[in-house]
């Protein structure tokens, strides 16, 4: 085996291993399910891609290379699909993503209040998961959206306009979220 190919293979395998470990560390360090999905997709795209590239360089033009490419393509494809399905199922189950409020503290925020069309898009919303009283239809999407934006502090002046806009139940910022900002 030529030394240049070996060197490239070393680099790809080390890079792949590095990103794989980074993704796994993110899986443990991130504060909620959605950010964990984000972390894992690092190892499922860049990690798998670089590891497979390193093995491809060692395999040369053989049937083994075809199988490796097949594994890589299927893994990238299904990783995206599984990530999307997991996020959608978690949203549907009522997991609240951690979003930063004005002070920078992470709070579990109901995504349906933030993006009203989400309640329509989640095909079969459980009734208990929609914020009581305002399951906003497409008609009043604009007002509900601005109110929701004021809740999480993106529009500062609107937040002072209605200070009694209560947040959905907040169990306090997660202890692992302290180093995010």
């Amino acid at each position: 085996m030529e030394p240049a190919i070996d060197l490239l293979s070393w680099a790809a395998l080390m890079g792949g291993g590095f990103f794989y470990v980074v993704g796994a560390i993110g899986l443990n360090r991130m504060p909620d399910i959605f950010t964990r999905l984000h972390a894992v997709s690092v190892s499922e795209t860049l990690g798998v891609g670089l590891l497979t590239l390193g093995m491809l360089l060692q395999a040369g033009f053989t049937l083994v290379a075809v199988k490796l490419v097949m594994i890589m393509v299927v893994l990238m494809w299904t990783g995206a699909v599984a990530t999307h399905a997991l996020a959608r199922a978690a949203l549907h189950d009522g997991e609240k993503p951690l979003l930063a409020d004005k002070g920078g503290a992470l709070m579990p925020t109901d995504p349906v209040s933030l993006f009203p069309e989400l309640g329509v898009r989640l095909a079969a919303p459980l009734k208990s998961e929609i914020v009581e009283g305002d399951s906003p239809g497409p008609a009043d999407a604009g007002s509900a959206e601005s109110e929701a934006l004021a809740e999480v502090g993106y529009g500062a002046d609107e937040a002072e306009a209605n200070p009694d806009a209560e947040r959905p139940d907040s169990a306090g910022p997660d202890s692992t979220g302290k180093d995010d900002r």
Partner: protein, 97 residues
């Protein structure tokens, strides 16, 4: 040698994913970790095959890729509908008011 180092990296990642699978507060965390463990197993199979110069292990890896995907989607579907098959349980309009 290079494959051995990569195998060690994947094993570290596998251990961390097992930690998350045991500790994860919600079922989705566990499922995400299980998916990652499956991917790690595929990479381990491929790397081990290359390390021992028996790349036939890749065939097992291809099987694992497909099983991993189907497993994750099946469990998610079970979470959502409480069933895996019957058409009357999959009626999506019944909850929409």
């Amino acid at each position: 040698m290079m494959f051995a180092v990569a195998i060690i990296a994947v094993l570290i990642a596998l251990t961390l994913a097992v930690v998350r699978a045991l500790a994860g507060p919600s079922a989705f965390d566990r499922l995400l970790a299980a998916n990652n463990i499956g991917t790690s197993a595929i990479m381990l199979l491929a790397l081990f095959g290359f390390m021992t110069e028996r790349p036939e292990f890749l065939d097992i890896g291809i099987t694992y890729v497909l099983l991993n995907m189907i497993g994750t989607l099946a469990v998610l579907k079970f979470f959502r509908y409480g069933a895996l098959g019957h058409a009357q349980d999959l009626d999506m309009d019944q909850d929409q008011s």
